[in-house]
Amino acid sequence: MLLNQFLILSAVLFSIGVYGVLTRRNGVMVLMSIELILNSVNINLVAFAAFREAISGEVFALFVIAVAAAEVGVGLAMVLLLYRNRRNIDLAGIDSMKG
């Protein structure tokens, strides 16, 4: 297997995730697109770990998974708070701090 096939797959998934973050208006969908981005980064890390035969890449992938879990917890709590205060989770409508 070539290293490149994994790297290009993860680049494609990363750009799809960025597209989702930029176009969706729903807060939960934005968080899910961020998960897609973090997952493509994990594929990259594990591919380089297999390429260099170094275990550190896989340990970093585990750390990324743990940080993603923490991020989803805090992010969903913020989305729920937003829903309670505004009765919707439309991210395009949040402009009260706009200068």
């Binding site: 290009i8 989702g20 930029l22 997952n39 594929i43 297999a50 035969e53 340990v59």
Partner: protein, 184 residues
């Protein structure tokens, strides 16, 4: 019948390494295609619950990729943490906020051409630099990493980041409870 089955299983051991490589590439192609299609459907579908289910497909495909790369512990962690826990959290988040979204405004922002441009630019630049740097780089076919090695590495070389991660998880737990609870 049974002897035929046993012969089949014995035959699996005698696969040439080139045959294994072909099988790996075939599985890579199938999983990668499914992952990309599911990711595209996830970011374009109107229904948020369907998007969460498409995300499950992408995460399961990523676990398959980890197994192809010989990282079975990461694959198991991926299934446990992502598909087991994070997707359930997402479904709870969707259900607790469902019906809140005005459909007359739509799910998407109006001007998405810039987003398409950014995504295409990212994939072009990244793929170009990858092809430029690693065009013929083969992955090594040594024995895959074992779980024991990962444990040894975490608890010797990466012990301080590991403790920091545990404190971060505790902080995130307390923080999300504080953010999401109703004020008395």
């Amino acid at each position: 019948m049974v002897s035929l089955f046993v012969a089949q299983i014995r035959g699996l051991d005698q696969l040439e390494s080139s045959e294994v490589l072909v099988a790996q590439n075939v599985f890579f192609a199938i999983i990668a295609l499914v992952m990309v299609l599911a990711a595209l459907k996830m970011v374009t579908t109107e229904n948020i619950v369907h998007a969460a289910l498409y995300l499950v497909i992408v995460l399961a495909g990523a676990a398959g990729m980890f197994i192809l790369l010989g990282a079975e512990f990461i694959a198991v962690t991926q299934i446990l943490v992502y598909i087991g826990a994070i997707i359930v959290l997402f479904l709870f988040g969707i259900m607790l906020t469902k019906g809140s979204f005005g459909t007359e405004e739509g799910e998407f922002i109006e001007k998405s051409q810039m987003a398409v441009l950014v995504a295409v630019l990212i994939v072009t630049v990244a793929s170009g630099s990858f092809i430029d740097s690693f065009r013929y780089t083969e992955l090594s076919r040594e024995a895959p990493s074992t779980t024991a090695e990962i444990g040894d590495t975490i608890f010797s070389q990466f012990i301080i980041p590991f403790e920091a991660i545990s404190v971060l998880l505790l902080a995130a737990l307390i923080g999300s409870v504080v953010i999401a609870r109703r004020d008395q």
